[in-house]
């Protein structure tokens, strides 16, 4: 894998490292790995300590796709998407989303060749991320795909019982999809 270098000046302009010295360099891969570490941790914390604890264990509140109407908790996937939408509004030079080979919402099926290849790869081996490059529109992207695993009972109960889920036999620890991070390449 070619490790492309992103000049600190570019990152500084994007607001990542403020007034960092010009000799500092961060590779696309390292950047994506760092972003994913934060995303995965927050996502796991919300799923286990909020949704699974309050819905499945304590049974005090439910999580629902229609959380406003149902006065419920947002689903972990929605929590993730709302964060991604807020990042998009800030016009940061990266984007991320949750995709799956078995999504509840068909819009989240892989679309690009890299997504297809990456989701297949992390479904087969969820210990290693998949990295690739692709051109979408007129922009070339560094694309990293990380396995998204079932970390709590809430994940598998909801997906296995959802009327729109194409797969109904997920088990704890299995890959349910992938986190796709894209960084535009200079």
């Amino acid at each position: 894998m070619k490790t492309s270098k992103v000049l600190a000046a570019v990152m500084a302009a994007a607001g990542f490292v403020g007034a960092a010295p010009t000799h500092a360099q961060v590779s696309y891969k390292d950047m994506a790995d760092a972003l994913h570490a934060v995303m995965e941790s927050d996502r796991t914390v919300y799923t286990r300590m909020v949704v699974n604890r309050l819905q499945n264990e304590e049974k005090v509140i439910k999580a629902s796709e229609h959380f406003k109407d149902d006065k419920a908790l947002p689903l972990p996937a929605q929590m993730f998407r709302f964060g991604a939408e807020m990042v998009a509004e800030k016009k940061m030079p990266f984007s991320y989303s949750l995709q799956s080979l078995w999504p509840v919402n068909k819009q989240n099926l892989p679309k690009t060749a890299v997504e297809k290849k990456g989701l297949d790869a992390v479904a087969k081996d969820n210990t290693k991320p998949f990295y690739g490059e692709e051109t979408l529109g007129k922009t070339k992207y560094f694309t990293a795909i990380y396995a998204d695993k079932a970390v709590a009972q809430a994940c598998i109960t909801c997906h296995n019982e959802h009327k729109d889920s194409p797969k109904t036999d997920f088990k704890i620890g299995q890959t349910m999809g992938g986190v796709v991070i894209r960084i535009p390449m200079k």
């Binding site: 998009a88 509004e89 690009t112 997504e115 979408l136 992207y141 009327k163």
Partner: protein, 483 residues
Amino acid sequence: MANPAGRKIYWILWGVLSMGVGGYLTAGLLMKSAAGNPWLQPARTMFLPGKTTHGHYQIELACESCHANPFGGRDALQESCERCHGQELKDAVDKHPRSKFTDPRNAELAEKLDATMCVTCHVEHRPEITLTMGVTLAGDFCAHCHKDIAEDRPSHKGMAFNTCNSAGCHKFHDNRALYEDFLAKHLNEPAHHPRQQIPARNFREVAAAWPGYPVDRFPLKPQTAADAPADLMQSREAVADWLATAHATGGVNCSGCHKGEKDGAEAWVKRPDHKVCATCHESETKGWLTGKHGMRLAEGLAPMTPGRARQPMHAEALDKELSCTSCHGAHRFDTKKAAVEACVGCHRDRHTEAYERSSHYTLWKKELAGEAPAGSGVSCASCHLPREEHRAPGTDAKRVLVQHNQNDNLRPNEKMIRPVCMSCHGLGYSIDALADAKLTLENFAGKPGAHVKSLDMVAQRLKELEEKRSKKSGSKASADERR
């Protein structure tokens, strides 16, 4: 042949006239005050590139409202759109937000339909291509991304490309009353609910628990004596009117509205404007300034008058300037009068004139006569200025307040289903009634002649999924038995 001196005079005259006309047009175009200046308005009008849509014609001469930065391109226009419409899209849980189209994985779709910008679909001043909802795209825009929908939803096979948006099933932005799970939750509801009542307003209760409420100025205690200076107290009738209001019982005395912030002549404001009402009624005023009644004031223009409207209005009302008191009436602030009489006093269209023939009006008369409970009558305001639940600022208390932007739920009219129709009617009946254009025009005097099949389709889909699930669990059980 004219002599050279005579010709010179013509040239000078031509030059002066040209400069005058040029100066007049330039002033009309560039001076911000031109929109409100009756002498310069004709000059501005000449620069309008085409008839403005029903949503913006009231402010069409305030060019700067939309073209705040004439050289800013689409981004600057987008900022202007969002200034007025951004919040309502957020409230509507917009199904096609900007972020959907900035996602690189949708780059291919965004190339076909760049919905990151409002002007991709809603171009102003183009009446020849403007469809309903101010859409200026060809009617097949859904198909750009969803043409394969029948693969996922076989029930949609063979449906015409323009029916997604026009058959009462899906809307591009606001699907709060139309999404599948909501339909599923409200299957088989009766046309009329046993309890038919709109929510009661609760400003008095919420104000008491509201940290930001100006209690020093409005002490929340009943007032029995008017505190206006004797020399300014011109009408006993005004005092009697005030004493009968919630203002008097809620602690709002004359000075609460009329006392100005400055000393001297301006210490007593004879005709307080909407900004004074906003001291306590901020949300209502904000809504009113966003709607067609108040948007001219919001853009610094002279108030809206029925004479400036495109809809049919009563001749005697044409010059009436709209303000809070034009509907509510100063001192009396009779909300019942504001809910019907104020509307029909100006509006003269078929829908308004049919109101008196509707069962909604019969219910309203019963409520007014005390023969039916409060909130069971249906006035113009019940539907067009609905009572909605909001969080009161700074508290956890929920406040039922009147949405004073009467356009908020009007287009598409499905926006009316949840906050209005479903207070009394089942979802299926509501969808059918609003899809019947003739019935709407006749102010719902009758039963829906149209039928939207969306609920039937959801019921069928749920049945099929249930059958599939039972079959699957049945075959799993027999497999277990065989083992």
